[in-house]
């Protein structure tokens, strides 16, 4: 197991945002975590990355406990997070932003190659090479954040809603890129995604979170077949069916 999470629990002051979470990521797997708003997905990734501290439980990364470590230490071990909400360095150029991703790396040549590579994925970043990242459009900033994480040469890449604000084309491409990264470097991926259809289509294993707990875990393929999950996360299969006398009542499905 690359990552093994045991009974992890995190509080924000008096609020328990995540309780008794067990989850594992095997080498070279792409693992998707789905769940409604406020389910605790971001909390999970942030706890794993050392951004916040858990109250109890363990997170073993490559056999060593990482819970409660500082985020920079976790990142240096190869567990790299693309956080929710585009955290770019607003007053650094796009290039310096990318270079910051490779901050802890020593292999200069490989870094140069990787930069060329992300510029190929996101040609826009090459066009805006010397612009302050704070002035980029929302989607462009998301590209910077993802590219920067890739440049850290992660062993396990954690992405919090990578498709947020990206065009449909890029959304599909992102998952293509994720797969390519995995295939070429063996990097495992843990991804939180609202776009469940895409995530389940490209992921290997899936977890469903509700109200701070894992409520279902299976292979993505198996999850896709489950009726209630199709209902809740895949929009019942089709579009939103506004027309006609479609179900206009709110059917928030939660496991309690």
């Amino acid at each position: 197991m690359m990552l093994d999470v045991q009974n992890l629990e995190t509080w924000y002051g008096p609020i328990a945002a995540m309780k008794g979470v067990n989850l594992s990521v095997a080498e070279g797997r792409i693992v998707a975590v789905l769940g409604a708003n406020g389910a605790g997905k971001t909390t999970l990734l942030n706890t794993l990355a050392g951004v916040i501290d858990p109250f109890k439980g363990k997170a073993l990364f490559q056999g060593a406990e990482v819970q409660g470590l500082d985020a920079d230490e976790v990142a240096r071990r190869g567990l790299v997070l693309v956080p929710e909400g585009r955290h770019v360095y607003p007053f650094l150029s796009v290039r310096d932003n990318l270079m910051m991703g490779a901050y802890a790396r020593k292999d200069r040549d490989a870094v140069a190659r990787d930069i060329a590579r992300v510029q190929e994925w996101f040609p826009r970043l090459k066009e805006r090479d010397s612009q302050h990242a704070g002035l980029l459009s929302g989607g462009e900033q998301q590209m910077v954040a993802i590219a920067r994480a890739y440049l850290s040469a992660p062993k396990l890449l954690m992405l919090d809603e990578p498709s947020l604000g990206l065009s449909p084309m890029l959304t599909t491409e992102i998952f293509g890129i994720i797969r390519r990264i995995r295939d070429e470097t063996g990097t495992a991926v843990l991804v939180v995604e609202q776009n469940a259809a895409v995530a389940l289509a490209h992921g290997d294993d899936g977890y469903i979170m509700e109200l701070g707990r894992i409520v279902a875990a299976d292979s993505c393929a198996a999850l896709t077949r489950k009726e209630d999950i199709r209902e809740a996360y895949l929009g019942g299969g089709g579009g939103y069916g506004l027309s006609g006398t479609a179900q206009r009542w709110k059917r928030r499905k939660t496991w309690r």
């Binding site: 500082d70 920079d72 007053f91 932003n97 901050y103 802890a104």
Partner: protein, 305 residues
């Protein structure tokens, strides 16, 4: 005609001499303000903490240098690296033990904390070294050079050189080294810096150490110009004015701002009515900020929505 012309020329010559002298004085004083300002900018640029205790570190270093020179009997040259290193270590400790704890709190908390630290350092210096003013000599004390009819203290020349050198070094450091870029990054988005594996805490303490060294240098060279005295911390106010005038976060800005404040003071002190000297820099500051809200060289862009 001829005589009148000659008299006029002579008057012009003295007027010109005074002007030249005043300008040189302004630059010399401005270099001091700039030197102090850069230490404050350094910390702000890298950690977004506005360090109100900088002036007091400077006082601490001046008193330490005095103690080492007069009580221990060390030569000035031995004292400079010793005090520089000592204050650097103390500043590192201040960050590591105190300032670090409020990382993530709004900027205000940092201002309050450094004000509190300033009080503590000021108190500790009085208790440790005694409250009286002191003095010591540098290798340049009492020496004056003359450049084209303008007198300038050698110590002032040294300070100008040191300020320029530090400005250049810091500018290069931030612009072109990995560590320098990482420091800027850490101040712009600390979370992202952590996630990129930047050891933000250590980096911040390092910056404090660096700023401590500049404070020490400023203190050791400045004190002999006036006296070793706890009120030297007041220079922080002038330095802040310089920083804001030049634009927060800009090292060249701090240099320019410092020298401008020095010049304004001198020109106002000599050419404007008595009493205007002490408010002239502040009036200029207000006007400049109304015209250029982010100072002369400050970061220009606001937030995208």
């Amino acid at each position: 005609m001829g005589r009148q012309l000659r008299a006029w020329r002579a008057r012009m010559n003295t007027a010109w001499e005074v002007f030249a002298q005043v300008t040189v004085n302004g630059i010399a004083v401005g270099a001091i303000y700039a030197l102090v300002a850069m230490g404050i900018v350094l910390i702000h640029k890298a950690t977004e903490v506005l360090n109100f205790a900088h002036g007091d570190l400077l006082v601490l270093s001046a008193f330490s240098a005095w103690a080492l020179i007069t009580h221990v009997g060390l030569p000035f040259w031995a004292v400079v690296p010793l005090v520089g290193a000592g204050i650097g270590v103390i500043a590192y400790g201040l960050d590591a033990v105190i300032v670090r704890r409020i990382a993530g709190q709004p900027q205000f908390a940092g201002v309050m904390l450094t004000i509190a630290m300033a009080f503590m350092i000021r108190g500790a210096v009085s208790m440790g070294f005694g409250p009286e003013s002191q003095s010591y000599d540098t290798p340049w004390t009492g020496q004056t050079s003359e450049l084209g009819g303008v007198a300038i203290g050698n110590l002032s020349l040294v300070i100008m050189g040191v300020s320029l050198g530090i400005a250049a070094a810091l500018w290069l450091f931030f612009r072109h080294t990995r560590l320098g870029v990482a420091m800027q990054a850490a101040s712009q988005n600390q979370l992202a810096a952590h996630l990129n594996g930047v050891r933000v805490k250590r980096l911040n303490s390092l910056v404090w150490a660096l700023a401590g060294v500049t404070a020490a240098i400023a203190g050791m060279f400045l004190a002999p110009l006036s006296l070793v005295d706890t009120s030297l911390w007041l220079i922080t106010l002038k330095a802040l004015a310089a920083i804001v005038l030049g634009g927060f976060g800009s090292l060249p800005g701090a240099l320019i701002g410092g020298i401008l404040i020095g010049l304004i003071e001198q020109y106002a002190g000599v050419y404007l009515p008595d009493g205007s000297r002490d408010i002239a820099p502040y009036l200029v500051l207000i006007v400049v900020l109304i015209l250029r809200p982010r100072g002369i060289l400050g970061d220009a862009h606001g937030r995208r929505v």
